[in-house]
């Protein structure tokens, strides 16, 4: 982009907005997801010493505040993408699954080695190694440095999602081949176009991919047949770069400006794939934490119930994508989730272990429940699958709250010496009499 401003606000402002939208979207998802994700931030402009960063944290407010407080640290037009990648990977200290989401125009023009200290001036690119063409200052050497850095880190198990921005049409301001090469695959590259207002949607569409799904929640901007900068190469040359051999600066082609049509605007995408739900394949069943029994149906406690795609254990069966789920009474009329519904994302035919708690006790006298999964949050029947299960609550749980506590003993004491039946009355052995035997059963299951 020839300017730091896009529309009525700066590019940085749009980027910040998109990143915050991304974070807020994750925040809106399940608590389990929130608890399982830590996020850090790196922003950069100019050289590696103008990289600001926030180490990994699961304090979402801290991350959002950090992003909101970002300011320009450089007024020059140089970018060291390699620096950002290296900085990010250096802070990504987790031993668990690691993902980097990079937002850039892909135009590299500075490398780590060109700047030697925080106070030094960097070696600005000069021809013939660098040009000052359509993208502004551009150094293929910097492109290669970034791609090489990403390649190394992909080899270390880090997944790269890349959001590219800039114009594909004259004047072209994005080097998508670089960005595709940095991304971990076709589905991990997202073209954000030059409409910054769309970037938030793009970021949100990444959530299912990094959190367990491949079907975007929001349909991103259409993928145009991108400006293939290397038309004579194999179809996916950029994804398997061998920088030292094939990316010599002199071989970097100039993009063909006429090859890329303007992105076609699509209607505002919806979050729910309603159109596909008429013939929603697959099924669901409940199982335990290990996921071993198929359709277990009866559980000792609410915490033991997990959701799984079915009808068997050979994959999720449900198409990849985001699903809404909830627990109701058997009739489906009473939602037992105080938060309405939760979400789970199927990715690559894998249905992640999904614990159903917390949910309210069923008003059904047989302690029966119905779990729903749907492609739409309003759980239309034709878009949903259901399965019933039962909880055989612990002996001693007179109050039906899932725990055996003093309140249950109070129920027993209130009715002791009476001829009453049923767990709810303190008759835990169901012999029609509330007596000392029921106290013993309560005592043995009581959790202080």
């Amino acid at each position: 982009m020839g300017t730091l401003n896009v529309g009525f606000q700066s590019k940085l402002q749009w980027e910040k907005q998109a990143a915050v939208a991304f974070l807020n979207f994750i925040k809106s998802q399940s608590i389990m997801l929130q608890q399982s994700v830590r996020i850090g931030v790196v922003s950069w402009a100019g050289n590696m010493y103008r990289v600001s960063s926030l180490p990994l944290t699961n304090n979402w407010d801290t991350v959002i505040n950090f992003i909101n407080l970002m300011t320009y640290q450089s007024t020059d037009a140089y970018t060291c993408i390699e620096c950002a990648i290296n900085k990010s990977t250096g802070l990504l200290t987790s031993t668990n699954r690691k993902v980097i989401i990079l937002m850039s125009d892909g135009v590299g023009n500075r490398i780590t080695a060109s700047c030697t200290s925080a106070n030094s001036s960097c070696s600005d690119p000069t021809p013939p190694a660098c040009d000052n063409g359509a993208y502004g200052p551009h150094c293929p050497q910097a492109d290669l440095a970034a791609i090489s850095a990403a390649l190394t880190q992909k080899g270390n198990g880090i997944t790269f999602h890349v959001v590219g921005y800039g114009s594909r049409t004259n004047p072209v301001t994005i080097l998508e081949n670089n960005l595709r090469a940095i991304a971990s695959g076709d589905s991990s590259y997202h073209y954000g176009g030059d409409d910054a207002a769309n970037w938030s949607n793009i970021f949100q569409s990444i959530v299912p991919q990094i959190c367990g799904g491949t079907t975007p929640i929001l349909t991103p901007s259409p993928r145009q047949p991108t400006a293939t900068l290397t038309p004579t190469r194999s179809p996916t040359p950029a994804r398997t770069p061998t920088p030292t051999r094939t990316h010599a600066p002199t071989r970097t082609p100039t993009p063909t400006r006429t090859r890329t049509p303007a992105p076609t605007r699509t209607p505002t995408p919806t979050r729910e794939h309603i159109a596909d739900c008429k013939n929603l394949p697959g099924a669901l069943f409940t199982t335990d934490a290990a996921g071993k029994p198929v359709n277990k149906n009866i559980y000792a406690d609410r915490q033991d119930v997990y959701l799984q795609g079915g009808p068997d254990q050979r994959g999720a069966h449900l198409p990849d994508g985001l699903y809404y789920y909830k627990v109701t009474d058997p009739s489906g009329k009473i939602n037992l989730y105080s938060d309405g519904y939760r979400t789970v994302t199927v990715i690559k035919n894998v249905f992640p272990a999904t614990q159903l708690i917390p949910f309210a006790p069923s008003p059904n006298h047989g302690d029966e429940y119905k779990v729903w999964i749907s492609t739409v949050s309003i759980f239309r029947n034709q878009c949903s699958k259901t399965d019933n299960f039962k909880i055989r609550l612990s002996t001693g749980d007179a109050t039906n709250d899932g725990v055996v506590d003093k309140k249950d003993c109070g129920v027993w004491a209130k009715n002791v010496d009476k001829h009453m039946s049923g767990r709810n009355n303190g008759d835990f052995n169901n012999d029609g009499s509330v007596n000392g035997a029921d106290y013993i059963l309560w005592w043995k299951n009581y959790r202080p």
Binding site: K16, N96, L102, A413, Y439, W443
Partner: protein, 178 residues
């Protein structure tokens, strides 16, 4: 030119599944216990203490019983004192209170009802153990004999498998001398 990179790390949480032990165990053969009042024979004196003893072959978790006496011949002079092994406040002093007839009511009706349960996190007693102490004073104006007794119909003692004991009862005979 600038950019933002978010980097994301997924932590793996190991959900520790708490396995609840269900306690609906198969019924075993009935345990036996003896419930007795000691001393079983005595000549009454002022403020004489009688103790309720249980002898059981299995740990006891709950006991309910009545103690009857002729309130025209003897009167409690103290509140019934309970041993700590089985309690009428098994959840703690300030919590649930099970039956323990007050001295006033007992002297008015001639009946003491006790409902005693194993306190939470306590060890169930077995063998011979005292559950309560009763302090009587004779009020009869003539020499006489009376019985402090435990009506069998009101006795329920349960072991830790929630099985009811078969209970043998030994009452106490008291001679009042005037």
């Amino acid at each position: 030119m600038l950019g933002i990179a978010l980097f994301v790390a997924f932590n793996i949480f190991f959900a520790q599944q708490i396995t609840k032990k269900q306690t609906l165990e198969s019924e075993a053969a009935a345990s036996t216990a003896t419930l007795s009042i000691k001393p079983s024979e005595s000549t009454s004196s002022k403020d004489q203490t009688f103790q309720l003893w249980v002898v059981s072959d299995n740990p006891v978790g709950f006991a309910q019983l009545d103690v009857s006496f002729d309130q025209t011949k003897m009167q409690l002079t103290k509140e019934v004192a309970l041993d700590s092994v089985l309690s009428n406040t098994p959840l703690g002093e300030n919590d649930l209170k099970l039956n323990k007839t007050s001295m006033a009511d007992a002297n008015a009706t001639g009946n003491i009802r006790l409902m005693l349960a194993l306190p939470v996190q306590a060890t169930a007693p077995t063998g011979a153990f005292n559950i309560a102490s009763l302090v009587f004073t004779p009020i009869a104006t003539e020499s006489t004999s009376t019985v402090i007794q435990i009506p069998p119909a009101a006795v329920q003692i349960f072991d830790m498998n929630a099985n009811q004991f078969t209970v043998q009862i030994q009452n106490a005979t008291v001679t009042v001398m005037r």
